[in-house]
Symmetry: C2
């Protein structure tokens, strides 16, 4: 069987909504709820219940008519579907404020993200420790990956790029060079990568564009 025939095309909007449900479900679990219905979830987020049901269906979970879904089953199904039940070993490059924000945010740790080391080109940062992670010289990225593999048997799967735009492509190339299979890019520039590397860009400008455009159109309408 060819890989292409096995990888179904999943609706990206559904994948993007799952973390929202997950957060709500964890709160429900903390309240001691055993089951939850799509109607309830939809109501919480102002959506249609059919959409929630379709979204949950892609994880493979099933509920019981009249009753709903078991909260713990649902949490497990979403986490497993997103790959958040396994550790994702990552390197982060660019220890500016954005890089620090990611290193300090515990939310991603709960999603399996394990940033094992941080890198920067600025010598004044070398040796600094951020939330338990040492800042290393960018030059040592390959050596660090190799040592990690040799000593702990760990493979770096993901590279997080939080450098300025102009530095992003060379940094991404370095990350691909050490064998990462996914790049999470925060720099405001599209990166050119081999097609077998999974790529995702955080587009803050796109978000700002939607906001300001709506704000200005609202003004015009008044």
């Amino acid at each position: 069987m060819k890989a292409s025939s096995r990888v179904r095309n999943l609706p990206t909007p559904s994948v993007q909504r799952l973390p929202v449900y997950l957060r709500f479900l964890k709160e429900a679990r903390n309240r001691g709820d055993d089951v939850v219905s799509c109607t309830r979830i939809a109501e919480e987020f102002g959506q249609r219940s059919v959409q929630v049901r379709k979204d949950l269906a892609i994880t493979g979970v099933s509920g019981r008519p009249k009753v709903g879904y078991r909260v713990d089953e649902l949490i497990e199904a979403i986490e497993s579907f997103l790959g958040w039940d396994v550790k994702t070993t990552a390197f982060l490059v660019g220890v500016g404020n954005l890089g620090r924000a990611i290193l300090n945010y515990e939310g991603f740790v709960a999603h399996g993200l394990d940033v094992v080391a941080a890198f920067d080109a600025n010598p004044t940062l070398f040796g600094q420790e951020i939330n338990g992670r040492l800042v290393r010289p960018l030059d040592q990225i390959a050596a660090t990956a190799e040592r990690l593999r040799r000593e702990e048997g760990r493979i770096v799967e993901m590279g997080i790029v939080t450098v300025p735009a102009r530095a992003a492509q060379p940094v991404a190339d370095k990350l691909v060079g050490i064998g990462v299979r996914a790049i999470w890019n925060y720099a405001p520039i599209r990166l050119d990568l081999p097609s077998d590397v999974v790529y995702e860009e955080v587009k803050l400008s796109a978000s700002f564009a939607v906001l300001t455009n709506r704000l200005r159109r609202r003004d015009v309408a008044e």
Copy 2:
């Protein structure tokens, strides 16, 4: 004419792609290019030229067959359409690493964003200056807005929320209280706001979900 009949529904994906084109067009201008074609832009970003043409069309700009679009006209049209040619006065609440990242990033300044003051609840930060902006006590947000209006005649249009999830809703309520008409939320929680306040959320978890899901599905396919 009712407002609802005047506000056309614009394709959000198109609005989100405009900043990408804009960045490219500014580079083109710096290189001294006078005109650029959709074909060229599409090629740069791996899209179809029709899509680029449709995207540009929503700004109201028009090009010339055989020639293309004038670079300076196009830049002006996109910036005006997005509301990036006018200053947007904003308050930022939450001076953690994420808040600092936004205060220090000059890219948004080029998009008209003018964060005039930053607020936090943590007294150890009060009086600190970040990229020229003083950190003030959250308590003083209303007084600061009022003084700004009285002394400089400036209205705070946007609130940027970079506090932890649990603090986000009360902070948003405060911002709405001082009259902001747009909220840009970085906290991983959906905010409840009056319907006349424009709202946009930066969903880092959604981005991470897409990335890890693809990474794990790729693994399965191998």
